[in-house]
């Protein structure tokens, strides 16, 4: 079966029109156009702005630096994990080790814009329930096979398999490839099964996703950290049978110690390997096991050339080091000090509002991240999100908080405890402690219960008042759907409001970013008014590299992308 070649989505001319008449700004247009399958470079061109230079039209990589030199090995300090099954990777660092070898269908760039990778274009239907994905021709596996739509379909079906235990089933696209069976397990969890015809192969390079509900984020979901594309002959562990499409292959893995990747020159059938993504500069990529606390010191003594992440606690140390570059990027990573709406005393909205009013988000951000990061608005949509509607900043009101507490029957003070696991660093504890000091003025005695990370993950969605860190998601609707929709899998606040659900669904159905942004005002306002959380800021991601490393960019989701990185 052939797919029509008229790839331009019906919304594109309309959007172009809006752009011309100033109804949509350029950033939004680029967003919408790339979402609808227009190559990012073309989208930037239509919008009449210079985008980040890219390696080539329809390639997801940054432009080649004319001064770039081939050769050398880049040593990166990060935790080295096992490479068992990419679909069930427990942490992002494992994907970093694998990313030079296996690749994604799409790639979300450091600018939070999604670009085509192993699929070279995609096209959603107007109702967002059917998506056509076109597999890039000429992509070769390390064993000499050509990548086909069948291979991709095999991967997508696997990601949507409820029995696999993959965190991909937290992503809307793969959830929409399943349906409820109507049965529940012993713990009351609704059982799901895969749609029989969810993934349809149309021809050698084309496949269609028939989703059970509209999904806006198919392209973004296909670039998440557990969606690295495997050869269908895959047998776990990957480290023993590595076959990928990337320019590198695994040479050595010692978990907790090192992971060495080397340029692949020949396929296993003896033929020379031509990488589809153009020139690649590094000969070898080495990951050495240094935890976040240790990596900066390791770089200081020259044991590594770059680190996975520079924590804010080590920023000062890093600034004192000679010959290094400190890089940073804004993200949608955050900490939600959230309350459960069905547990006393938080079931009284006056109590929640009092806590929110007594907090000073801007002061907490200043205290913890200084001039870095962005102040947040207690509604879990970040300025980096294309559809973020800028609500007016929340203002601290201690007198108002006291009044509310009095009305709620806590005139003589309120004792509450917040649980924090520091799973994203000790700054989380600092946030809770700052909050404790602020709400004290309103007569709220907040105690901070710091627990070990593992222990925290056992109770993160059970504690009445807890500080949960949320990872970056490219779109604003993604976290809202996972965390605040009635009955959603990670709804830790137990919040349920049909008005919010409906407003969110309406926003999710708008592929047009300008339109979605207007709809998001209502969504954000409902959530903010519900006073579910003190969400003080959006944190930046820092990384550290020696000045010999070029093109090493921090990424909002901490994905290390090394295709055009070179060493001098």
């Amino acid at each position: 079966m052939n797919v029509d070649n008229d790839r331009e989505h019906p919304l594109i001319p309309e959007a172009r029109e809006q752009l011309t008449h100033g109804l949509m700004d350029r950033r939004e247009f680029i967003r919408l156009a790339t979402l609808l399958g227009v190559a990012a470079s073309s989208a930037y061109a239509i919008a009449g702005v210079t985008g980040p230079a890219m390696a080539g039209d329809n390639l997801p990589f940054p432009a080649v630096d004319p001064k770039a030199k081939r050769g050398g090995k880049l040593r990166i300090g990060q935790t080295v994990g096992r490479m068992h099954d990419p679909a069930t990777y427990a942490w992002n660092e494992m994907s970093n080790q694998t990313r030079p070898m296996l690749e994604y269908l799409t790639m979300v760039g450091p600018d939070n814009v999604v670009r085509p990778m192993l699929v070279d274009w995609w096209k959603p239907s107007a109702d967002l329930k059917t998506w056509i994905l076109h597999v890039r021709p000429g992509v070769m596996w390390h064993n000499g096979d050509e990548l086909t739509a069948d291979h991709v379909a095999w991967n997508i079906r696997r990601w949507a398999d409820p029995a696999l235990g993959s965190s991909n089933l937290g992503l809307s696209t793969f959830v929409a490839l399943t349906e409820l069976t109507g049965a529940k397990d012993a713990k009351g969890k609704a059982l799901r099964r895969q749609l029989p015809n969810g993934v349809e192969v149309l021809d050698r390079h084309t496949l269609r996703l028939n989703l059970s509900q509209p999904v806006l984020s198919v392209a973004e979901d296909c670039g998440e950290y557990c969606t690295l594309v495997l050869h269908p002959s895959f047998v776990a562990p990957l480290s023993k049978h590595p076959i990928g499409t990337g320019p590198y292959t695994l040479a050595e893995l010692r978990v907790g110690e090192r992971c060495i990747l080397k340029r692949i020159t020949h396929m296993t059938n003896g033929q020379p390997f031509h990488y589809w993504g153009g020139e690649v500069f590094l000969d070898e990529i080495h990951f050495y096991n240094y935890t976040l606390e240790n990596a900066t010191a390791a770089l200081a003594s020259g044991s590594v050339d770059a680190t996975y992440e520079l924590t804010v606690e080590q920023l000062e140390l890093a600034q004192s080091l000679p010959g290094v570059q400190i890089l940073s990027v804004p993200t949608a990573q955050t900490l939600c000090c959230r309350m459960q709406v069905d547990v006393k005393p938080f079931d009284d909205i006056r109590v929640r509002r009092a806590i929110v009013k007594a907090a000073d988000n801007a002061a907490i951000k200043q205290l913890v991240f200084g001039d870095h990061g962005q102040v947040a608005n207690n509604c879990h949509v970040a300025p980096i999100h294309p559809e973020c509607f800028p609500l007016p900043p929340v203002v601290r009101d201690v007198a108002g908080a006291k009044r509310l507490l009095k009305e709620a029957g806590y005139a003589h003070g309120l004792d509450v405890t917040i649980s924090v696991g520091n799973n994203d660093g000790p700054w989380q504890q600092a946030v809770c402690e700052a909050l404790r000091d602020q709400v004290k003025e309103a007569g709220i005695n907040l105690s901070v219960d710091v627990m070990p990370e593992q222990r925290f993950w056992e109770v993160w969605n059970k504690v009445p008042f807890g500080a949960t860190s949320w990872a970056h998601r490219p779109l604003g609707t993604m976290a809202l759907a996972q965390a605040y929709r009635s009955g959603a899998s990670w709804n830790e606040t137990h919040y349920s409001d049909p008005a919010f659900d409906q407003a969110l669904s309406e926003a999710e159905a708008s592929i047009n970013v300008a339109e979605r942004k207007i709809k998001m005002q209502k969504v954000e306002q409902i959530l903010q008014d519900a006073a579910l959380m003190v969400q003080p800021f959006w944190r930046p991601v820092f990384s550290l590299a020696s000045s010999r490393v070029h093109g090493y960019q921090p990424h909002p989701a901490r994905q290390i992308q090394l295709n055009k990185v070179w060493m001098s």
Partner: protein
């Protein structure tokens, strides 16, 4: 002596059996199975599994068998020299154990090589004349070094020697193969504490002996001081420190956890730390067996040394 050895060997086996059974029992809980699932699949991945799929996963990892069944199978494998496979690292436990133990053995070798002569000498010098200036200086320093926690010493040494003076690298991951420079910081961290401790013990043993009747008699008899110290005092004063040194083998195995984790040195301590964090039961079991072996062996060695050094016990 033979009895002593036989008794100790039997004791070792009994302790190993008890400890391993206890560990198996501790790890035989739903909570630990869940911990392993979370460690393998991530929190969110594990949470996507329905109850029946979770049970199927447990079966696929062989964690569904009952405690006695798993224990007997494991015991049978161990007797045949198979320590199992690390679920965290996808590698045979025996390989892991061999590599990590040899790294720690290198560290321990240098620790003993430096610690024994330095601390015995300083301890004897201090204990020879209790209350002298030399004694005071050595004792104060020894008390000082033993009162700083090793983690603080490690941080301090890193700031001064690695980040400040840049004499040594900050970490000891040995990424380009073995390097003595990288070993220096962990070595110094352990030595600073250990030497202080042993000096204090040697000093008090020496001081005890020097104030005993027979030494006083020997001195009053007019024997030269040097001869009294070397021929009469030293041998008796060394009984305690020598047995302590041998017992330090066990102490070192637990101390290396802090030092190896701090300096990212790939030894026994780090292996144990990783395994405990992950819930990697096979590795924890094997490491425990090794620890029990080392503990009992060092106890045995110190008993033997005590007998050899103490003539009063030889007749008994």
């Amino acid at each position: 002596m033979r009895h002593l050895v036989i008794r100790r060997v039997i004791q070792t086996l009994l302790i190993m059996l008890t400890v391993s059974a206890l560990l198996f029992a501790v790890f035989d809980s739903d909570q630990f199975r869940k911990k392993i699932a979370v460690a393998e699949l991530g929190n969110f991945g594990a949470a996507t599994l329905s109850d029946s799929d979770y049970q199927a996963w447990i079966v696929s990892k062989g964690l569904d068998q009952s405690f006695p069944a798993r224990y007997v199978t494991w015991l049978n494998h161990v007797v045949h020299g198979d320590l199992g496979v690390s679920i965290e690292k996808d590698v045979a436990v025996s390989t892991l154990l061999k590599e990590s133990l040899s790294s720690t053995a290198v560290l321990a070798f240098y620790v003993f090589l430096i610690m024994i002569p330095v601390s015995l000498m300083l301890g004897v010098l201090a204990g020879m004349k209790e209350g002298s200036i030399l004694d005071r200086v050595i004792s104060v320093i020894a008390v000082f070094t033993t009162s700083i926690p090793q983690i603080a010493t490690a941080a301090l040494l890193t700031v001064v020697l690695a980040l400040g003076l840049r004499w040594v690298p900050t970490k000891s991951a040995m990424i380009d193969g073995f390097s003595f420079r990288e070993l220096l910081l962990p070595l110094l961290t352990i030595l600073i504490y250990e030497i202080g401790y042993l000096v204090r013990m040697t000093r008090s043993a020496m001081a005890d002996v020097m104030s005993s009747q027979y030494i006083r008699t020997a001195l009053l008899k007019g024997l030269p001081y040097r001869q009294v110290v070397l021929k009469h005092a030293l041998r008796n004063a060394l009984v305690v420190p020598v047995t302590l040194i041998l017992l330090e083998l066990t102490g070192l195995l637990s101390q290396v956890v802090v030092v190896e984790v701090f300096f990212q040195y790939h030894g026994f301590g780090r292996m144990l730390f990783d395994a405990a964090n992950f819930g990697d039961i096979q590795v924890i079991q094997a490491a425990t067996l090794v620890a029990v072996c080392v503990a009992v062996a060092s106890q045995l060695l110190s008993d033997i040394a005590y007998v050899l050094l103490n003539p009063r016990l030889r007749v008994a």
